[in-house]
Symmetry: C2
Subunit: 261 residues, 2 copies
């Protein structure tokens, strides 16, 4: 472990992507990270807003979007186009040689269409394989890969994937060579004991605490798949997972939630 | 020249991108090209259609789109998102390891906002620099770069660029190392003496013939910047420029227009 190179994988949520001022602050923190970095970005409200403008009714089950053909077009446009290129151009301006990717680019991330059980999620993709060599090649070349959560099945079909999961899977795949620290950044300070109370930050969360909080109903909605995935990443080789604001990227005294097994 | 490696740069027009059947045929021809290849794609009608759905009035002067902020969002979504990723996923399915790029990705193509003279083109970008090393690195790694015509200024601003020009500029930049053949593919057989008559194909066009046809009013609209740029590429090191259908990519007996100085 000691001899492995450090790699930082950062996932930023839609609440940051949607806010131009926060995004500028994010660039400032992100550029201070030393060593190779990977960025994964969420979608924000733009996709839902565009769907509404186009008269497509956004459908979600348990916080997960149902991706019909029209919705897949919209998320491909917004995530892989508008947001991804905006972030890449923004990072280029800070001197980071960013390269925007979907899972189809360089065959970076293959997925399969989620099979229909209780719910038909449409063109939702569950990840099968992260292309370690391709991402490693980019990192070794000094590039910063910037992933939107659009993947492909290798047969020409694009798929809509959960960005939290994608970040965890990329982090896990890269941990064979790197000491990977995974950061989930959003506008909250971290995992809160009481979501209504910003001061109730859980600074250190292991799987026992997590299980207890989950059964007590203190972890809800999108936080459940995010944390499930994060603990999976930890048990698959990722060194540390941090959850908090963008400040934690450049200031390690900043309070946040650190996950450990 | 003899010792240089062959490189094929292909630009496909919106009339191909818009048509799913033609696109499948295109993949079949494109995959038969031996040696390194670069693909540049145009926009098609999707951007204008989306603008209309969103209540943005598409504006053009002399066939060139006026790119206001709302239009820039739309073309970034459609060109760099929807169409680029669709093409990349389609090429991956044929076994080509495609990687979709805007000019911002890997700092591939820098441009500046066109200065306002008679017409304010808005966020239209004129190319300053093609990043030879980055593209060469991808080609040497066995990747097929797939460019949409969205570029950046290096200061965080995305810009809308003419795809014909972008193809010619990439071809020119790569000609320092490669023997470059540039193909402009669309649904016509090539340059026609009489646009109304499909049988009036000009098979070989040099700059003298071009000048004569231009003054006779036989070359009009979007063909003028396309051919101007193509002749510029020829005088800057590109070996040959071909204009015709997608069939010419895999069948060199197929009639088309070959441009030469």
């Amino acid at each position: 472990m000691v001899n492995k190179q450090q790699l930082t994988v950062v996932k930023i949520g839609g609440d940051i992507v949607d806010n131009d001022q926060l995004l500028q602050e994010f660039y400032n923190h992100f550029k201070k990270i030393s060593g190779p970095t990977v960025l994964v970005h969420g979608g924000g409200n733009k996709a839902s807003a565009l769907q509404k403008e186009l008269g497509i009714e956004p459908k979600k089950v348990d916080g997960r979007r149902i991706t019909d053909a029209a919705t897949l077009e919209v998320v491909t446009m917004v995530y892989a186009g508008l947001l991804n290129k905006k972030l890449v151009a923004g990072l280029q301006a800070t001197g980071k040689n960013a390269i925007g990717l979907s899972g189809a680019d360089g065959d970076a991330i293959r997925a399969h269409k989620r099979s229909v059980a209780d719910v038909d999620y449409g063109f939702a993709g569950d990840i099968d394989r992260v292309n370690f060599s391709f991402i490693d090649e980019l990192l070794s070349g000094g590039y910063t890969p910037v992933f939107s959560a659009i993947t492909h099945d290798g047969k020409g079909q694009l798929l809509n994937t959960n960005a939290d999961t994608l970040a965890a899977r990329v982090a896990t795949a890269m941990s064979s060579k790197y000491n990977v620290q995974l950061y989930y950044c959003f506008t909250k300070a971290g995992v809160l004991e009481d979501v209504e109370n910003g001061d109730s930050l859980v600074e250190r969360m292991d799987s026992t605490i997590y299980a207890a909080m989950k059964s007590a109903g203190q972890i809800v909605d999108g936080m459940i798949p995010k944390l499930d995935t994060a603990f999976e990443a930890l048990s698959s080789g990722v060194l540390r997972v941090h959850v908090g604001t963008i400040q934690i990227l450049s200031d390690n005294t900043q309070k946040h939630t650190t996950l450990c097994l």
